[in-house]
Amino acid sequence: MKILIVDDFSTMRRIIKNLLRDLGFTNTDEADDGNTALPMLKSGKYDFLVTDWNMPGMSGFDLLKAVRADEQLKDLPILMVTAEAKRDQIIAAAQAGVNGYVVKPFTAATLKEKIEKIFERIH
């Protein structure tokens, strides 16, 4: 299971990386915005994407849409972990095809629950 973590703050990437490791996912890479993440996704054979929304350059929402629009990537499971809390945004993300939505600040239990739920649905 190879996971890409996308967030503009290195501390948040590190927190998520640590939590994922505790859940048994040790194969993770990091990117700091959509522009860096997209080429990595295209060449890297990732199984799962965890992304923030608000980032300089390409936002997580644009990344979500770009992944869904890409023939090769369109089925990649995506979990959004973000401080974006407007109802309209959550609805927009759901309509754009996000698989899970976690609002910051979040707990390890929430992250675990959402990830498990996503994999349950896929398998």
């Binding site: 290195s10 501390t11 590190r14 929304w53 974006e84 809390a85 959550i90 927009a92 609002v103």
Partner: protein, 261 residues
């Protein structure tokens, strides 16, 4: 009546007095047919207006300057004093906050990442020893195994003492790493104060500008600029009091399941 009162606001009494005096002189000159005199009074009048505007702009500029100059922080030691003296503006100071919080977060995570394997090892060894100990109590243990268990327990006590010392030191270092809050708190409070002062001064500037617009009859077309929800808006304030914002993960889950996700 209320209109004329509104117009007087923001003008010096000195200016309004001059205005009144010159208006009556103007009326008199027009009445007596002295148009040259009337024109020169009109010139004077516009000069008075210009001067009062300049004076107001000057006053606002001075108070803005003052606000920025008063923007200082009490450093605790020489090092902080040097760091703070290098920062001349608010954005430098806020960058300093980002840097300090970043440092503290990384220091804390370093220590946590060092401590976690220790805690793991302690737990794993304790579980094994507990199981062995229970076998002993159930008298299921051969004498040779029993001697080995003795040795393991001895070793466990030694490593437990050393590892818990390391854990304790890490925890107290994590505690110390939180000291950024004191200085960043100060910086943020000062920046908040500055923003407030600038905001107030800008507000008077806007009021004055609208006054000028009124005098000159200027109408502006202002385009409403909306934040882009697609780019991201960042954390929302006072989420509990708003309907358009979720106030936690439960809200998100409810919203998504109401949509059938």
């Amino acid at each position: 009546m209320s209109d004329s009162k509104h117009n007087q606001r923001g003008l010096d009494p000195e200016v309004t007095e001059k205005l009144e005096q010159q208006t009556s002189e103007l009326a008199k000159s027009v009445e007596t047919g002295d148009y040259a005199q009337a024109m020169s009074i009109i010139n004077d009048l516009s000069e008075v207006r210009d001067q009062s505007l300049y004076r107001e702009v000057g006053r606002l500029t001075r108070s803005l300057h003052e606000a920025i100059r008063n923007f200082q922080i009490d450093p605790r030691n020489a090092e902080q004093k040097e760091a703070l003296s290098k920062m001349s503006d608010a954005s430098d100071r806020l960058n300093y906050v980002v840097e300090m919080t970043n440092q503290a977060a990384n220091r804390t995570m370093d220590l946590v990442e060092e401590s976690m394997p220790l805690a793991h090892t302690m737990r794993d060894e304790a579980i094994e020893l507990r199981d062995e100990w229970q076998r002993l109590r159930r008298r299921e243990m051969a004498p040779a195994e029993f001697r080995e268990l003795y040795g393991r327990i001895d070793k466990f006590f030694v490593s437990l003492t050393a590892d818990s010392d390391v854990l304790y030191r890490s925890l107290s270092e994590i505690l110390l790493a939180q000291d950024f809050q004191d200085l960043t708190g100060q910086v943020i409070q000062k920046v908040t104060g500055l923003v407030k002062e600038v905001e107030e001064n800008l507000l008077s500037l806007v009021v004055m500008a609208s006054h000028v617009d009124q005098l000159t009859g200027t109408v502006h077309e202002i385009e409403e600029k909306e934040e882009s929800a697609e780019k991201g808006l960042g954390p929302q304030m006072k989420a509990n009091e708003r309907d358009d914002v979720v106030s936690g993960q439960d809200d998100v889950d409810d919203l998504l399941s109401s949509l059938g996700f």
